[in-house]
């Protein structure tokens, strides 16, 4: 079943097509949600929210070879929307305050001694340790590589705010990464 047929079948509430769509794109959705969410439980809730919205928005899907790219984009912005709706955890505290109790690790760490899987886990743990606002900006800017004007427009924030927040997110991520690598016994350079 090609993407166009899959979309049409999903629009006609075909159960098999919906299941196929879920099986085809849910791993990618889950991966993106893992980056934007704070933990495994949060990831499942976010994935549920995102996939529901994907089925609602599938009518706007182009239906050609860019379908996967469309799914990724919609997943990213739906994940951001989910975090915005989760207001009791959003913008409660700055990462700086959150980090007050954390032990700071100074200097650069050499992660070459770690395997790729260990590095991935370490980076993911560092990313998930960021506050939602910093996590969003870090993901959007450095991992998903979305253009800053688009981010500013979609998040409805000033460019200066974006710049400042992004710098802070970058700094915090580095701090977390050093901390985790230090905890894993990775020697400093």
């Amino acid at each position: 079943m090609n993407p166009t047929e899959l979309i049409q079948a999903c629009l006609h509430h075909d159960t098999i097509a919906q299941r196929n769509f879920y099986e085809q794109y849910s791993p990618r959705v889950m991966g993106i949600c893992t980056r934007y969410a704070a933990g495994a439980k949060d990831t499942e809730a976010m994935a549920l929210y995102v996939i529901k919205h994907l089925f609602e928005e599938i009518v706007n899907c182009p239906g050609d070879v860019n379908m996967e790219r469309w799914v990724e984009e919609r997943t990213i912005w739906n994940a951001v929307e989910y975090l915005h709706q989760d207001k009791h955890r959003y913008f409660i505290a700055k990462t700086t305050r959150y980090m007050e109790n954390k032990k700071k690790v100074e200097g650069e760490v050499d992660e070459t001694t770690l395997s790729k899987e260990e590095s991935k886990k370490t980076y993911l743990a560092a990313l998930q340790s960021l506050t939602p606002s910093y996590r969003i900006l870090y993901n959007l800017t450095y991992i998903d590589e979305i253009a800053p004007p688009v981010i500013v427009k979609n998040l409805q924030i000033a460019e200066e705010t974006y710049k400042a927040e992004l710098g802070e997110a970058k700094f915090q991520f580095k701090q977390y990464l050093n901390t985790y690598l230090h905890e894993q016994g990775v020697p400093r350079q």
């Binding site: 499942e44 996939i51 529901k52 970058k170």
Partner: protein
């Protein structure tokens, strides 16, 4: 990307490691999504049914109304046309058209067989404006009574203008038969006196032989 926002090696490494990350969705996610999709599916089917049932009902009602109207129309006007064809008398115009032109008819004569002691009464129904003249050459029918011919009487029609061949009353008396001239025009009594009854008029033939 703007250089201002470019990351250092850590960001590049983070992108390299995390950009293509994938995960396995637990069954719980699909179960919950399937419940929601099922609800939407049933809602859509209900919407579809309500959307297409209303016009269907309207079509059924329209068809029923049309059938009832047709049947009632057929009943009312069909019966009326049947009544006209069966029970109604022909229209006067049709009678005029279908009636053949009037033919001059001689008045029907009822002839009763004479008995010896009875009086033959000829009842003649005159037809108005019908003139019986002596020139009537139609042979008279002859009835036989005991091998005696009985001359059927021609209808006596009173005419306003007596014909020249009419037999006077005196002449009738000489023949043994008396015709009362006092009788009404259409009827008269014939008294037998041993002779066969005679009819008046020019076509009377004396065929009686005693």
């Amino acid at each position: 990307m703007n250089k201002e926002y470019q990351g250092n090696s850590i960001e590049l490494r983070a992108k390299e490691l995390l950009a293509s990350i994938q995960g396995n969705c637990p069954d719980m996610v699909w179960n919950e999504i399937n419940v929601e999709l099922e609800a939407k599916r049933s809602k859509a089917s209900e919407k579809w049914l309500s959307k297409y049932n209303t016009p269907r009902a309207a079509v059924i009602v329209t068809i029923c109304v049309a059938v009832v109207t047709l049947v009632s129309w057929k009943f009312v006007f069909g019966k009326k046309s049947t009544d006209i064809s069966v029970y109604q008398a022909p229209q006067p115009t049709q009678q005029i058209v279908n009636t053949p032109p009037p033919v001059k008819q001689a008045a029907a004569t009822v002839v009763t067989q004479p008995k010896k002691d009875s009086v033959v009464v000829n009842k003649t129904v005159p037809i108005p404006n019908t003139v019986v003249t002596a020139t009537n050459s139609q042979p008279m029918q002859v009835a036989m009574n005991n091998n005696k011919p009985i001359v059927l009487q021609k209808p006596v029609v009173k005419d306003n203008t007596p014909t020249t061949n009419s037999t006077p009353a005196t002449a009738m008396h000489s023949g043994g038969a008396s015709v009362s001239s006092e009788q009404p025009d259409s009827t008269f009594s014939l008294h037998r006196s041993g002779m066969a009854p005679m009819s008046s008029g020019a076509a009377v033939q004396d065929t009686v032989t005693n």
